[in-house]
Subunit: 243 residues, 2 copies
Amino acid sequence: MISKNQIKLIQSLKQKKFRNEYQLFVAEGIKTITELLASHFDLHQLYVTESCNIDANNKAIISETELKKISFLKTPNKALAVFKMPEILPIDHYGLIVALDDVRDPGNLGTIIRLCDWFGIRDLVCSSETVDCYNPKVVQATMGSITRVNITYTNLEQVFSENDSQVFGAFMDGKNVYQYNLPQKGVLVLGNEANGISRSIERLVTERISIPRFGSLQATESLNVATATAILLSEFKRNSIEK
Amino acid sequence: MISKNQIKLIQSLKQKKFRNEYQLFVAEGIKTITELLASHFDLHQLYVTESCNIDANNKAIISETELKKISFLKTPNKALAVFKMPEILPIDHYGLIVALDDVRDPGNLGTIIRLCDWFGIRDLVCSSETVDCYNPKVVQATMGSITRVNITYTNLEQVFSENDSQVFGAFMDGKNVYQYNLPQKGVLVLGNEANGISRSIERLVTERISIPRFGSLQATESLNVATATAILLSEFKRNSIEK
């Protein structure tokens, strides 16, 4: 059973405004919910259909029809959970930090969070215009990685001013990243899907890097921001091994 | 104006069966259509609304309502074009070939085609179960790169048997790719999103490679196939420069 108020609460969590007000977000899909339950994230309420065997305190059995009513997915998947947003830890300026300047696509942010997890990046810092990491599509795309990366939404300029290491920015006309001796400490900034890194952030970039293109002259104009992040993080980490 | 028969033809092109029968496919969005028109691909018919200034032979002006009727997108974008499928060239076994064993997600295939274009990969070979590259979502995601990569759907085992170089396969338990001396010639195989490389193809892999994970023990289980392709192609090409 699910009450009208609960339905109303869940539906409100589609919007960032209410997620921030209640400090709650929605996760769907058995894999994602199981990973979140096993993490330090706190469950607010779990809703499952009878055929689903996930266990937790605060669990309510609901019908398929009720799940359809509350799910954000076209094809609801046996369970929906409401979690509390975790506490954000202070940024660790002694590691490699990934900074996103206005990344808008939920799929791209989800992939980047997964990559940060894979490559052991503790801190992902996002400009306030970057898509919210508790957007249901982002939570879904991270496959649980969201529990292992400390994500801070803030003014990037301020973070850079508190960090005394190099700021690497991905630009089309940057220096070939393969020729760099990349450090284990610093900031890597990636920009917006259409416009790249904004002017105000560009001024603070100390190292302009780029991924060389090998195709013909007529080749693709740019790499997607998530694939560029994959390649650049791989380069930073490869350099850290070889030192 | 658009006739009933033309509407019927376009709608049928949502399905692979009819795309193959007519050897035609649909492209939408001004950027994609412009790139395709500038390529060696042959236009069958272009449909544009009055506000759109793309020019071509075989151009018909249609109303917004007509565009809505034929578009595959939720938000149609001023133009829709039907192109002829290009001639597929014989595979060049002297370069680095990318092979996909049952990649199912259109977004992933689109990203991989873009990556092949970026890294100058001439041949992308796909198992017959791999999502069709003329699927409208794939065409959209390639941003025009589809015109610069020779994509062959065939039996992968046969391609490998005709190729006398190493076959690299991406596996979770493979050898650290950073420690490899990667050749400029060979095959790189990537597997299905959920199941990886199939048993029959695994038998033909001569080098099992993997991207090292740097995160905590509890970290993400695997990288998405498109991000893994990005990192591995970057490694192959970096090795080719450094030789």
